[in-house]
């Protein structure tokens, strides 16, 4: 990838569109990744259009329709208090996508600047940040998220914060490693030689050149965050009832698995499809943005 050398120069003179356009071209040629992207897009549409797509009110109970098997009235059946499972799965998409995107945004917002600082400054700052990162990484991701969500209190917002903070060290470490690779490149030396201040070198010349692996990691991290949110909701630490969430639907469903298996099948399938889609897209992006890893 190329870089901008002059302190005042911007992307207008740098051929920065080149590598990105090539990567996009490579991505579009990977059918499996495009399949993943199509599924993600379908879920986004589902989340945004939930009020119009869902056939019933997701929290409306009906004592006359308790644990009804799938039928023409309720395609995915009903749950233990007569709510329509399809409508809850459709509305639950919002919580899962929101959790995935917001948690990873938190991780990026915290992890990238800290990693940039560690890699760029080095010395004591790097040593301190690296030790703190090691400490976070020593606590298994979900256990740390559960503990944080427990102390913060059960809610979707707190679950997203807990997941985001718990996943931050991965981005710190990745950014730091990438910065260490990039900062010894000739164009960084040149940027320094023409008198750029360190902050400008870090933001204008280093950061744009470490974004590709971060995009890949962020996509894969969304998949992990969707599972983590579902896990926390399954344990009762995420989205609170009666608001629909795939994880909390599975938590209830496990008690009725012998009487109403449909309650467990659909929300689980929805988690699986969304996570699979982000994993396929992430793998495709990795191949497209760094063909050497193929």
């Amino acid at each position: 990838m190329s870089a901008v050398l002059s302190p005042t120069n911007t992307a207008s003179t740098a051929p920065q569109a080149g590598p990105w356009r090539r990567a996009l071209w490579r991505l579009r040629r990977r059918r499996v990744a495009m399949f993943g992207l199509a599924i993600v897009a379908a879920f986004v549409v589902l989340a945004l259009a939930a009020p119009w797509i869902a056939p019933h009110d997701p929290i409306a109970t009906s004592w006359g329709a308790i644990r009804k098997a799938p039928s023409s009235e309720h395609w995915f059946g009903t749950d233990e208090i007569g709510r329509d499972v399809l409508s809850r799965v459709v509305w639950g998409t919002q919580a899962s996508l929101l959790a995935g995107v917001v948690s990873v945004s938190i991780s990026l917002a915290l992890g990238v600047p800290i990693g940039l600082l560690a890699g760029f400054l080095g010395g004591i700052v790097d040593g301190l940040i690296s030790r703190v990162t090691d400490a976070f990484l020593a606590c298994p991701f979900l256990i740390l998220a559960i503990a944080m969500a427990a102390f913060l209190g059960p809610s979707l917002t707190n679950a997203m914060i807990a997941i985001g903070v718990s996943a931050t060290p991965i981005f710190v470490r990745l950014t730091r490693a990438q910065v260490l690779n990039v900062k010894v490149e000739d164009y960084i030396e040149a940027a320094r030689a023409v008198g750029n201040p360190p902050w400008r070198i870090a933001l204008r010349h280093v950061l744009p050149n470490v974004t590709a692996p971060l995009i890949v990691q962020a996509t894969l991290a969304i998949a992990a965050a969707v599972i983590a949110e579902a896990s926390l909701s399954f344990l009762g630490l995420g989205q609170q009832p009666p608001a629909p969430s795939w994880g909390s639907m599975l938590n209830t469903a496990k008690n009725y698995v012998d009487q109403a298996p449909w309650m467990a099948i659909w929300p689980g399938l929805a988690i699986f499809c969304l996570v699979l889609a982000f994993n396929l897209l992430g793998d495709g992006l990795r191949d497209a943005l760094d063909p050497r890893q193929r």
């Binding site: 703190v132 400490a135 606590c139 979900l142 399954f234 496990k254 698995v257 929300p267 689980g268 988690i271």
Partner: protein, 313 residues
């Protein structure tokens, strides 16, 4: 060997210090006065005053950390607000159950992941490779609590072969114990098998393209001998370290698996403590888990060191 061990131990000490600060810091996330929260719904002033004194809440934060870590170093992880039992005692009671689950899960993961990785690499581009890659994608994309529910539906509800939940000690009835643990172990091992398969495939592909493997083939050795005797031994070495990183997944996964199958282990202890607002137990469990994870990684590093003659010098 001793130098390597001492160097790794020296790296671990600051990590453990920061882990303890992080876990102590969790308490600061509690909104409001921790003593009032821990005192429960009754809000007895006597209990609140006792907790304030016991937790040194009137002291400055660094001093409170000092008291806490001092206790931890002497094996005092605090006391359960609910059962009044020492946290360490509770953890030690539950640990054997989770260790058995983790060992069974890791054995299943190795039994599936390693052969699948070898088959995938040896048959690169074939149907077997595609099937192994599809299995890996399935493994990393399936939430283990959902897989657990599906297995209960199939093997307990439909076929009636295995118990849906519960735990029997292996010392009481080994057969019943294995029957109760096989599904949870498979659920837990499934995701790790997928990751091991990917690592194994990648390591095998690298080794299979190396010169010494080409030489072995040129000598006329049978493919089976080349793969299993020459390539596998070297490909397994990096998988040891990468596999060790999955121990975190194992510990995290145990929390959900134990919840689905109602297994009274370490994971269920942390979830029950969360809902009982028994924060000392939550802190204790996270501390023990992190320490165990660090120790297991150290053991994996040692195994890697011993398995790699070049490192031994």
């Amino acid at each position: 060997m001793l130098e390597f061990l001492l160097r790794r131990l020296a790296q671990i000490v600051p990590t453990l210090v920061f882990v303890s600060v992080l876990i102590f810091g969790l308490q600061q996330l509690l909104p409001g006065d921790p003593a009032q929260i821990l005192a429960g719904e009754e809000q007895d002033p006597g209990v609140i005053a006792h907790l304030r004194e016991k937790m040194h809440l009137d002291e400055p934060l660094p001093l409170r950390y000092g008291y806490w870590i001092g206790g931890v170093l002497q094996g005092d992880l605090g006391e359960s607000v609910r059962t009044q039992q020492p946290v360490l005692e509770l953890v030690l009671q539950k640990l054997p159950v989770t260790i058995q689950l983790a060992l069974m899960a890791f054995t299943i993961a190795l039994a599936i992941g390693i052969p699948a990785g070898i088959v995938s690499a040896v048959g690169r581009g074939t149907w077997w490779d595609s099937a192994a890659n599809a299995f890996a994608l399935w493994g990393i994309s399936t939430p283990n609590f959902w897989l657990g529910i599906l297995l209960i539906l199939l093997f307990s509800v439909q076929l009636g072969w295995l118990p849906a939940s519960g735990y029997v000690s292996p010392f009481e009835d080994l057969r019943a114990n294995l029957a109760a643990m096989v599904m949870p172990a498979f659920v837990l091992g499934n995701a790790i098998a997928a990751v091991l398969m990917r690592h194994m495939r990648s390591a095998m592909l690298q080794v299979l393209s190396s010169d010494y493997v080409r030489t072995a083939r040129a000598k006329g050795l049978r493919e089976r001998v080349v793969v299993l005797k020459h390539a596998l031994r070297n490909a397994l070495t990096p998988v040891i370290t990468l596999g060790a990183l999955e121990l975190g997944t194992l510990l995290s996964g145990a929390v959900l698996t134990e919840q689905v199958f109602t297994i009274p282990g370490f994971g269920k202890l942390i979830v029950d403590s969360v809902f009982n607002r028994d924060y000392a137990v939550v802190q204790g469990v996270v501390l023990v888990t992190a320490t165990a994870y660090i120790a297991l990684n150290l053991l994996a590093d040692l195994a890697y060191f011993l398995a790699n003659p070049r490192l031994r010098g």
